[in-house]
Subunit: 322 residues, 2 copies
């Protein structure tokens, strides 16, 4: 089969080379199905992995790609049917013509969705639901702050927050991006180049979905209300920062940091099942819409990562594999 | 009535003066009962308050004392009966002959317990259950680390951890204190003067009950296993420390910091109800035993706080009021 392979960056050639190459088709483990990939979603984690900054979990495919949609080619030892259309949460391997997928990570194609649309929504739906729905337990009437509101995670999280009945606040770096957030339902729009979100939202936020990390740590804790919960899923603003435990204790705050990819099979199957239950109905009736910036052919995966690196996209990029 | 009043420390007289003085009996608010205090538990928070380091929450009694046992003298607007024996979770005011208590903070005297014994257990039971049972959700088979295992919180938490089926690890500063922890059921004993608990327990701990704060922050995160949860309820080792969010993300860690006293009435009533449900049976059948270091008369409250400050006690001090 064909897959995108990676020549990792070196000191003399600091940019990773992505090539479409001929590689062996994956062999199935017990409980896995072989999926013929039609479309693969592009995520920031792919960019980090291509730069050598996201170690591949043990046992995962060496290829990039954390989500796809396609058709079951070989059901292996599972009771699934050849030809069944599926969306898949992957530990890797989506940038390829075939991928092996544990049965617990198969999802139905959302009602009314194309393969490309389905491939754009799996990772973000599982990530946002597992962190905000399951871990932080966002409830109706609470205030929900999303950093990077116009990105792939942000555009999804705004709509989910509104569907759950929360007041949604977002930060973004331009008026254009904030306009996108507003269209999706965001209530409080903060341009981080012009305003300090911690001052605007001081003691008002119940749940934060954070992709910045250290740089915003103190401001996030300032923004949180009593019993607030910050969930960090990205470290675009650094890993280490000063933590004020006194402030945390006074307001009874909670900090969690999570990643989806490193979870074990049972955890992932649980998240996938709960995401289908809670989020798939919101996709079917349009409370959450997919946000696709553009599609590119699989061979242009390198360009897709360049666009992500330049923050030049609003919503998702999807690779069309066939 | 008589109560312990406080002359706050000044620069020239840095030690707080505690005096037994004549003061007005508290007036009842709607939903409160007046309790004739028989015994009042002594807590570290009382020491901090006497030093001016623990602001009294708005609306709370100005007097020290977060727990007591006694008899209802005036049921006010509640349906309670005069003469009913009760243990009480207080926002303050236990170091006195009478105290006003919201109905949601009344608990039955545990089966077989004296007034003194009951007064020794309320605050610690509500604190440990709300943090470890309700917030961190400690489960059978998990590993539970307790700092300061021989103190009032620690001796209770060891027994509760064992009753829930956890493996219990403790830190303490002497062989004598560790022997006390072992008698109460602790499985892993660490003298923090001789060993680095983070090395002994690296990646092994599911839940930490922390009273140290900043000084142990990094070591606590090192000790935590994947999906681990550290709950900080004291800051004896400082408020501010460097947080490694990258380590948190890699292991999917959670940090919470909480305080019981500042919670609202509904929160406290919920905690009290759940503590009665889950902990009172463990007191009745002896899975958890009270740990009383000594009793002192109310007039010796100052000496009680001195003993706490010198870490000269194993278990609780209780003031006998009548």
């Amino acid at each position: 089969m064909k897959a995108i392979t990676l020549i990792e960056p070196t000191e003399t050639n600091p940019k990773a080379q992505l090539n479409l190459a001929e590689v062996p088709t994956p062999e199935l483990q017990d409980g896995e199905v072989l999926v013929k990939v039609h479309a693969a979603g592009v995520n920031r984690a792919d960019l980090l992995q291509s730069q050598g900054n996201y170690p591949v979990p043990p046992g995962a495919s060496e290829f990039l790609g954390l989500e796809c949609a396609g058709v079951i080619e070989d059901p292996g030892t599972t009771g699934r049917s050849k030809g069944e259309k599926v969306a898949c949460l992957l530990a890797g391997g989506g940038y390829a013509e075939y991928v092996a997928v544990p049965e617990g990570q198969l999802m139905p194609i959302p009602e009314g969705y194309s393969m490309v649309e389905a491939a754009s929504i799996v990772e973000v739906a599982c990530t946002v639901w597992s962190n905000i729905g399951m871990l932080a337990g966002l409830k109706k009437g609470q205030t929900f702050l999303i950093h990077g509101g116009a990105g792939g995670i942000g555009t999804f999280a705004i709509q989910m927050g509104k569907a759950l009945g929360a007041t949604v606040a977002v930060t973004a770096g331009s008026a254009e991006k904030l306009a996108t957030c507003k269209e999706l339902g965001a209530d409080i729009l903060i341009n981080y180049r012009e305003e300090d979100f911690a001052e605007v939202l001081k003691n008002k936020v119940d749940v934060i979905l954070d992709i910045i990390g250290a740089k915003y740590l103190n401001q996030n804790l300032t923004a949180l209300a009593k019993d607030g919960h910050m969930v960090t899923i990205g470290l675009q603003g650094g890993r280490k920062g000063e933590l004020n435990l006194g402030l945390m204790l006074n307001k009874r705050l909670n900090i969690s940091a999570t990643a989806l990819r490193s979870r074990d099979l049972a955890d992932k199957a649980n998240i996938v099942a709960q995401t289908i239950e809670h989020i798939w109905p919101m996709l079917a009736d349009g409370r959450i819409t997919h946000q696709i910036d553009r599609t590119l052919p699989l061979s242009e995966a390198g360009q897709a990562l360049d666009l992500l690196e330049d923050s030049a996209v609003t919503g998702k990029i999807v690779l069309e594999v066939r």
